[in-house]
Amino acid sequence: MRRSGLAGQYLAIAAFAAVYLLIGWLVHNSYYQLIMTLVLIWATVGVAWNVLSGYSGMISFGHAAFFGLGGYTMTIAFVQFDITPWIGIPLGVLVGVLASIVIGLPTFRLRGHYFALSMLAYPLAMLYVFEWMGFQEVSLPMKREAPALYVQFNDPRAYMALALVLLVVCMIVSLHVERSRFGMSLTAIKQNEPAASAAGINPLRWKMLALIVSAGMAAAVGGLYAVVLLIVTPQTMFGALVSAQALIIPMFGGIGVFWGPVIGAAVLVPLAETLNAQLGNILPGIQGVVYGVAIILITLLAPEGIYWSIRDRFTSRRAARVPAPSTAGAVAIPAAAPPQQFGHPAADGEALLSLDGISRAFGGLRAVDDVTLSIKAGTIHGIIGPNGAGKTTLFNVINGFLVADTGSIAFAGTELVGRKPHEICRHGIGRTFQVVRAFPRMTVLENVIVGAYVGTASNVEAERFAMAALERVGMADEQAQAIAGGLTTKQLRLMELARALAPRPRLLLLDETLAGLAHDALEDIVQIIRQVNRDGVTVVIIEHTMQAMMKLADHFSVLDHGKLIASGPPASVVKDAVVIEAYLGRKWMERAKDPVA
């Protein structure tokens, strides 16, 4: 799907592993071997953190919680019950996963800094609890009779090999997450959660899944870390520096891509460890300073990490020229598709969406006031009205972002009030948003595919649907492979339209798709919308550009101060005195009737 295929990435991982093993074999100093092992361990922690925070944007300051739980589970199992770490570590993974579910369910309801601060609290609480329980310092017993059975080796390189295996496994899992609809959904959520919901993606489900995978990985590597160190203290397992490293390493190396943590660990861990070894006596705490300085520099100079800075520099040289549409400016208007490809052959003229007595208030202000209207299948229905009339609020209620205070909304027989946005999308309603937040580093096709996930089982099918949608909007040519970051406003709007069309909705809610466009672009998009409608998609559109709306819409509903004040064919609605008064003011009408000389 993307620039380098899956095979290419596997090759790169294999090459990396081979080179690392080779270097490891050549190194004989046991201290350097330890450092190499630590690099791998912290890289894995970073990969784990990345799966949640890098991909979804929910920044976690508390990954030490899972790391520590994994470490202590293995330790307690070993010390108290003589269970080998080969079993103890997977046990730790289980504990970590369970903890993540318990933590995730309530905490994901929070956003922004509240989420970050809560995540901070968990490992701190665990630290105190474990200290209190008497686990100040626990040493793993030496098992001289069967060392390998208890993951104890004489040659430190064995640990390195083990750590490498774990890292590679995590990298592969991470790779698959990235390239799958799981990863794409997370990216969509990170980019614009409401738009993702409206496209049928269930944010809570994907975030929980990401947390579970992330926690499992962190717990596994926590267990391994304890095995390597042989001494476990609450500070080293749950401490703030652990959570800080979990965050700094991927942010430094490159956020949102699994190579990032590897780069970050490869740079920072040897640096910190070596400085600590050389200068640790005179400058205790030099490690913390290194990490602190690293993260400060990164936020100033390369906020997304080294990997992206370097990559962006290369890609900007190559792909600066976004393939412009084949005919300058004009988008080829696609021929009509066979009717069963899009929309559904519902009886035209029947009410597809019916609003009955819908009201929604904010504080004392009635944003939507007892609105009853019905959208007939196969029509283009314009919602107009002066600024602040409640049009966008109405859309948000239909879409599920807001719950109506009173009334009901029937869509092809199903009641919509009370349903979540992604469910509503599943039922066949698509929506575009005024501000298009694209995935800037991905292609147009990748941006659109996210919309096709709902209702398609396989990625191949999703890609087909996405291409079909791009065809509808005339971007199925070389534009489909263009990087979204370089698109014009018109292309962005069309891409957004394609994303909404990808799951083949029966009804499309367009929110100011035409706003601010120049005449030619406007004409093209109007044409495309008309074509989409002819193919069977019912369109409801909020727009201020009256000229365009007059040509486009079959029917107008006019809102003012939340109330429906007029409804009918455009030509008669705009002449309606009530409407003129709403837009221009009562005194305008009075003047018109009785012009003063």
Partner: protein, 313 residues
């Protein structure tokens, strides 16, 4: 009746200690409250600035003995007070050269994106300050000795540690002074306006960037004073900042993240919770009680006691 006597005394002892401790916590939280209220910056390094304040007080009074001439009673107080301006300057410089690069009036109105960069940069600052402190000051726990540290006043069966009591009074005094500043002075009102609505504040002719710089310095300076006051009652080492980050955030969130003065009451309550939790929990878990309270607030009443609903997540 006899069997009730001890628990009741314990209860009131915990209550009194909680109030005394809470006063300084309250002052600490107000510092963070200013920064969060005015700038909407989540400052991870707040506790470490407090730590710097403690060391400043220590070196002024004991280490370099600059204030020794003031005697053992006044010295620590003045030392704590002077920690304020010194840390203010440090904060001012840090904001000027680092933090303003990722914050500022434009970012305040932006999405959570901007927030993450702020938090993360302050995390870096926290690491540098705490570990830098370890390098400069060593890991030996210190405290500012005053004859009051070991003396207590007795009210019936209740003991009030003198150093803590003095610290409480001073903290309350500083907080009161700050209250007057915020409500009566022009600069104070300007800060409240910028916290309330930064865009409108810019329209009023207020230079919001420069105001943020001042607010940051003031916020860390106030917390440093609180630190200096605590320094007489407990020992500290360079990593102590992190212990207090949650205390401060719990206090600010409890008070309401938009309310600068609510933060004082939030901090006071947290002090009470911490001390009173020792009645039912083992001593080592007193901070866990704070976390529980913190999480409860975030989940059930995120706007805190005095905050605005618009600050809810």
């Amino acid at each position: 009746m006899e069997t009730l006597k001890w628990p009741i005394i314990d209860f009131f002892q915990a209550l009194s200690t909680g109030l005394l401790v809470g006063g300084t916590y309250g002052l600490m939280c107000v510092g963070l409250g200013i920064i969060f209220g005015v700038m909407r910056v989540v400052n991870f390094a707040q506790g470490d600035f407090m730590m710097v304040g403690m060391y400043v007080a220590y070196y002024l009074v004991t280490g370099f003995g600059i204030l020794a001439f003031l005697g053992p009673y006044a010295g620590p107080v003045v030392g704590a007070a002077l920690a304020g301006p010194i840390v203010f300057a440090l904060g001012w410089l840090l904001h000027r050269f680092l933090i303003s690069r990722v914050t500022g009036a434009r970012v305040v109105s932006a999405e959570a994106e901007g927030h993450y960069m702020q938090i993360i940069m302050t995390l870096g600052v926290a690491l540098v300050l705490s570990n830098g402190g370890l390098i400069l000051f060593g890991s030996q726990p210190l405290s500012v000795q005053t004859p009051l540290s070991r003396e207590s006043w007795e009210i019936g069966p209740i003991f009030l540690n003198q150093a803590r009591s003095v610290a409480f009074v001073l903290a309350a005094a500083f907080a009161a002074g700050l209250y007057l500043f915020l409500t009566r002075s022009d600069l104070g009102k300007t800060m409240r306006a910028a916290a309330d609505n930064p865009i409108a504040a810019a329209y009023m002719g207020i230079n919001v960037d420069r105001l943020h710089r001042f607010a940051f310095g003031l916020g860390v300076g106030i917390t440093a004073i609180a630190g200096g006051l605590i320094a007489s009652s407990q020992s500290f080492q360079p990593y102590i900042g992190f212990d207090f980050v949650i205390v401060m955030y719990a206090g600010v969130v409890l008070g309401g993240m938009g309310s600068i003065l609510g933060a004082f009451w939030g901090g006071l309550t947290i002090g009470l919770v911490q001390q009173m939790s020792t009645l039912i929990l083992p001593y080592q878990l007193q901070n866990t009680a704070i976390f529980v309270v913190f999480l409860l607030i975030i989940f059930f009443r995120p706007q805190g006691m005095f905050g605005r609903v618009s600050d809810r997540p």
